[in-house]
């Protein structure tokens, strides 16, 4: 077992240059944007003199490479710097937003699996028949509708008309958080489902036609227990990597959905930081998203390896 997971340290090492590249790209891209934070802070009272004074106070009048080295030096010491807008450490702002976005993504992932697995099984059990067509129609719909539109429709139906859920927000206690996050998570889940269902349906049909399932059937296995014991694990293998890739994309989707549902996560933080030219906050959030995508990539391979004993990524690399 440990042998097959030996790829993990190497992958972690590989991620260091990637993260370095991200800091360089993000730093210089945000500084290429016209407009500096002092302008954003001063609002309608901004005059050239006062903008210059504030820029100086914030250290924004130093050479760009110097600012970058300063940022990198602080980063190596684990210091993400001060938010220009709030004049507070960025780490506090980001740490407060990370659990929000992660819970949202996790919740969405769980919901999407709860929807996808039964629907894919249902469709695969009778390819071409009415229930299969029904499921395929649903996936088409899910894929065709923009996320924010699904979000608005869910709000109108479940929150405004039925008043079963709140219209956006996050609540103050953990039970409230899950309650408030249900609709945005469902929105993301619906957007995520189509690819999962399609892949799972196709692989399930293949597995169902295989010899070992025939053998299992002849031994009397049927229905849900056949699906659970013999089919799902084998059919899930290609889907695992699709879910992994999807989660990466989902971070982007979550940023938009957070705005629609007023969820105070990384997305809201990022959008505000961009408009205010709050450079340290933009850098911190992009860095976190990069780390997240890398970790999900590694985790996907771990799950992949764990699910399928034949997979040995360490060997393929060498």
């Amino acid at each position: 077992m440990p042998d097959r997971f030996r790829f993990i340290p190497a992958r972690l090492l590989q991620s260091i240059p990637v993260l370095f590249g991200v800091t360089v790209l993000v730093f210089f891209m945000v500084h290429l944007l016209p407009g500096d934070p002092a302008v954003a802070i001063l609002g309608q009272t901004a005059t050239p003199d006062r903008v210059a004074a504030l820029s100086h106070q914030l250290g924004l009048d130093q050479a760009l490479w110097r600012q970058y080295l300063l940022f990198l030096g602080h980063l190596c010491q684990g210091n993400l710097g001060q938010s220009i807008t709030y004049q507070r450490p960025v780490s506090g702002l980001v740490l407060q937003a990370i659990p929000v976005t992660l819970s949202l993504l996790l919740f969405a992932l769980v919901l999407s699996l709860l929807i996808s697995v039964p629907l894919a099984g249902l469709a695969a059990s009778a390819p071409g028949r009415a229930r299969d067509l029904g499921v395929r129609f649903f996936t088409l719909l899910g894929q065709g509708m923009p996320q924010f539109w699904i979000g608005i429709m869910l709000i109108l139906l479940l929150a405004v008309n039925l008043r079963a859920f709140p219209v956006g927000g996050y609540g103050k206690t953990w039970p409230q958080h899950w309650y408030y996050l249900f609709l945005p998570a469902l929105t993301l889940a619906i957007a995520m489902c189509p690819t999962t269902i399609r892949s799972l349906r196709a692989s399930t049909i293949d597995v169902l036609a295989s010899d070992y399932v025939g053998t299992a059937r002849s031994k009397g296995a049927a229905g849900i227990s056949l699906f659970r014991l013999h089919v799902l694990r084998n059919a899930a293998i290609p889907t695992v990597s699709i879910i992994g890739v999807n989660l990466g994309y989902l971070v982007g989707g979550a940023l938009v959905i957070e705005k629609v549902f007023a969820v105070p996560g990384l997305g809201s933080l990022m959008i505000n930081a961009i408009f205010a030219r709050d450079f340290p906050t933009i850098q911190a959030v992009s860095l976190f998203v990069a780390v997240f995508v890398i970790v999900v990539g590694i985790l996907t391979d771990v799950v992949y390896t764990a699910v399928d004993p034949r997979v040995d990524i360490s060997k393929e690399r060498s």
Binding site: L33, P34, G35, D36, P37, V39, A40, I41, L42, G43, Q44, T45, A46, T47, P48, D49, R50, V51, A53, L54, Q57, T85, Y86, Q87, R88, L93, Q96, A97, F148, W149, I152, M153, I155, L156, A159, V160, N161, R163, P166, V167, G168, G169, Y170, V256, K259, V260, F261, A262, P264, S268, L269, I271, N272, F275, A276, R277
Partner: protein
Amino acid sequence: MTRSARMRFTAIAALAAAALAACGGGGADSTEAGSGPVNGGDLTIARAQDIISMNKTTTFDNDSIYVMEQIMEPLFTVSADGTKVEPWLATGYQVSDDKLTYTINLRQGVTFSTGQPMTAADVKFALDEDTKTGADGWGYINAAIASVNVVDGNTVAIKLKYAWAPLLADLSLFSNGIIPNNYGGKTADEFYQAPVGTGPFVWDSWQKGQYVKVTANKTYWGSKPHLDSVTWNVVPDANTRKLQVQSGQVDIDDTPDWSSFTSLKNAPGVNAQTFKSTYEEYVTFNEQRTPFADAHVRRAISYALDRDAIVKTVLFGNGTPANSLFSPGTPYYDQNNGAPTFDMAQAKKELAQSSMPNGFTTTILINSGNPNEASIAQIMQAELQQLGITLTIRQLDPTANKQSRLKSDFDLTIQSWTMDIPDPDEWTTFVVDPSGGSHSAFSYYANPAVIALNKQAQAETDDAKRGQLYAQLQKQTSQDSFLAYLYYAPYVFAMTDKVKGFAVTPLGNYHLENVYKTN
């Protein structure tokens, strides 16, 4: 969200709202039983932006300001109609004969929320704190103050460098709010993380990006607040805010979109209201660029704008065409100043007399993602075409846009202004006097006669004479047409039926101690 996505979003939201209004209807339980204020409850206000800081001397965004005003109070306050200054933590004042010393009597029996009584030493500290920030904060508003002196425990004397009529209005600004001497023994940074004042509400908590909350000050010197607490939630999306107030999840939606205002007005259980403001939208000509140093060109463009059409398109009819440098909510507003109104024949005549009789090509700088400015620019494009002026629209996001204005890198641009104090000087010095620091609101307009009028008005303490000076100033600036006034827009709030007593002054601030919620 990109601009087109946002437009689509708004369109869909409007459709959805229409559908909802159609299937909803009826069933509004408006129980108007039992008059008189109700005590208790939490008021929830949803708005687009979070607060940034509670430091009253260096914070410029309204979202922060409206919260700090519930906690820290100034010596004077603005009247409900926004045009006069009334004593608040002060009870009265005397002016010396040379107009250079204001002796101010403080209200007795006022305590901070910590229980400490407010004294003259606190007042001196608070005013000096603001003055000290100079150009880095709101200190410039106190530029005329030479010193603040403690006369006795309940009296301060403010010495001026020169006669300065707007002093009381300046003292009514939140940045001159009264806080405990020496920050109550804390550092400035510590203090403003949990500010203390004499106001009707007390700082409670701030979850950044989520909400900020204040609770009632049980020992408030004035009429006690009815509410237990007030929470401002951050809800960036206008459509989400609208649905939240419709579902009763929040009590007040701060600034719904104009496109949804009518549907909110007709929604059951919702009360959508406008309040008189000092908001003025205008076009700025950059006089450093040809041909805008030519007053004929500026007047031609100003005459060519159909302001009624703009109000109808942009504000869905909820505003009025602008006709002065001042807004009607500003003291000394005079509507008879001869400002250009829509008249295409007059516009053509002016252009014919100008240096560019056959028209020219120019650009207008607007904020990307701002549907209002996009509509205005498109209307202008069509109207100026009739004069032979080809207008190209240039879009930049708000911060980049401001940067361009600071660098004078634009031909025409759309700007707006709201007043912070009930005195025209804050605006006139910014907009007509190049020494105000903004090169006359980035127009580079400099008419010596107007600058002199503004200086005279600053020193004139006789109300009637001051009014005449500002009338002359409005006349001359309209004659020069250095800005093309577009419209005045009111403030807009949507609230549930349960909210009573909520009112906004033309300066945008509100006194929440008078607000209550029925059951």
